[in-house]
């Protein structure tokens, strides 16, 4: 039988192994990594709370010099959710947008200013659907489900 060891760390401060890097600003996060010639990415997000996607028109954005690629939900047919509540999620919205801020398209461009300008040229057309801003209204009889898990 294993004998339980005395708990030496309970109730004490155990500083993190990477604490000194984090408190000195030396820790490198993904956003801190810069390579020569690195492209800038920006995401176009839904301004609608709930809507059926009629069209995502990226043609004007693609014409902008310095824009290298744009992907939309049409390019993302695989779900990626790991958690059960997210297993029906796509990286970019496909049939519907389900909340204001849901990613709809992603732009790669030579720099951030160009990527931002490309976002302004993307045209999202939706048929708006009822949106619910309280738990009560979302649970009311006749409310439509935001997603099917």
């Amino acid at each position: 039988m294993n004998k339980p060891l005395p708990a030496r760390n309970i109730g004490t401060y155990v500083p993190m192994i990477d604490g000194p890097e984090k408190v000195s600003g030396r820790a490198k996060y993904t956003a801190d990594i810069v390579h020569p010639g690195q492209l800038a990415g920006r995401i176009y997000r839904s301004p609608y709370s709930h809507g059926e996607i009629v069209a995502v028109d990226v043609s004007e954005a693609l014409k902008l010099p310095g824009v290298l690629a744009i992907v939309t939900g049409a390019d993302c047919d695989k779900t990626f959710g790991v958690l059960p509540v997210a297993r029906s999620e796509h990286p970019l919205a496909r049939d519907r947008v389900r909340y204001r801020g849901e990613p709809v398209a992603a732009v790669a461009a030579v720099d951030d200013a160009t990527a931002r300008e490309a976002l302004r040229r993307i045209k999202l057309t939706v048929r708006e659907l009822p949106a619910y801003y309280t738990a009560k209204s979302a649970l009311a009889p006749g409310a439509s489900a935001a997603s099917m898990v």
Binding site: P15, D18, G19, P20, K22, V23, G25, Y29, A31, V34
Partner: protein, 160 residues
């Protein structure tokens, strides 16, 4: 338009041609290579980009680089001497005021600004000084404790 910007960055004089529309945050990260200052919300809400201008905490994402002409800028990279952490850095490390660490440089600079002005702050003064900073993992109890510990270290002679 660009202009010649002369100022003091982390104790050293610096001169750089800087576009009028570049933010201090982007200047620090992209031109000066000081990525310890973090881009969080990019809109003045989270405090991750806090730096000191003449010892006063400022959000670098809302500051044009061109406006710091002749000023003294301190970033997280300026803290600590000879490989030793500063009092505030030690506080956040030893009192567990940092988890993922992304907000930490902003909190540390806001705290350093507070201790430079007020070496013995009350809990309310600490809360007020950190009112512009958001942490999404630790919560604020350990952070306040970190600043109190830093003030005690500072009283023993460790620079904030």
């Amino acid at each position: 338009m660009a202009r010649l910007l002369e100022f003091t960055l982390n104790g050293r004089d610096r001169a750089d041609a800087v576009a009028d529309n570049i933010l201090l945050l982007d200047y620090l990260r992209e031109k000066a290579g000081l990525t310890g200052t973090k881009t969080g919300c990019d809109g003045g809400e989270c405090g991750a980009c806090t730096v000191l201008i003449d010892d006063r905490p400022v959000l670098s994402c809302l500051t044009l680089a061109a406006t710091v002409q002749g000023r003294r800028i301190d970033t997280i990279e300026s803290l600590g001497t000879g490989g030793q952490l500063s009092a505030v850095q030690r506080g956040f490390h030893e009192k567990l005021g940092s988890q993922c660490g992304y907000c930490t440089p902003g909190f540390i600079m806001a705290s350093a600004g507070l201790l430079r002005k007020n070496p013995n702050p009350s809990e309310d003064e600490i809360k007020e000084a950190l009112g512009s900073n958001i942490c999404r993992c630790t919560g604020y109890v350990k952070i306040i404790e970190a600043v109190q510990y830093a003030a005690a270290l500072n009283a023993q002679g460790v620079a904030p």
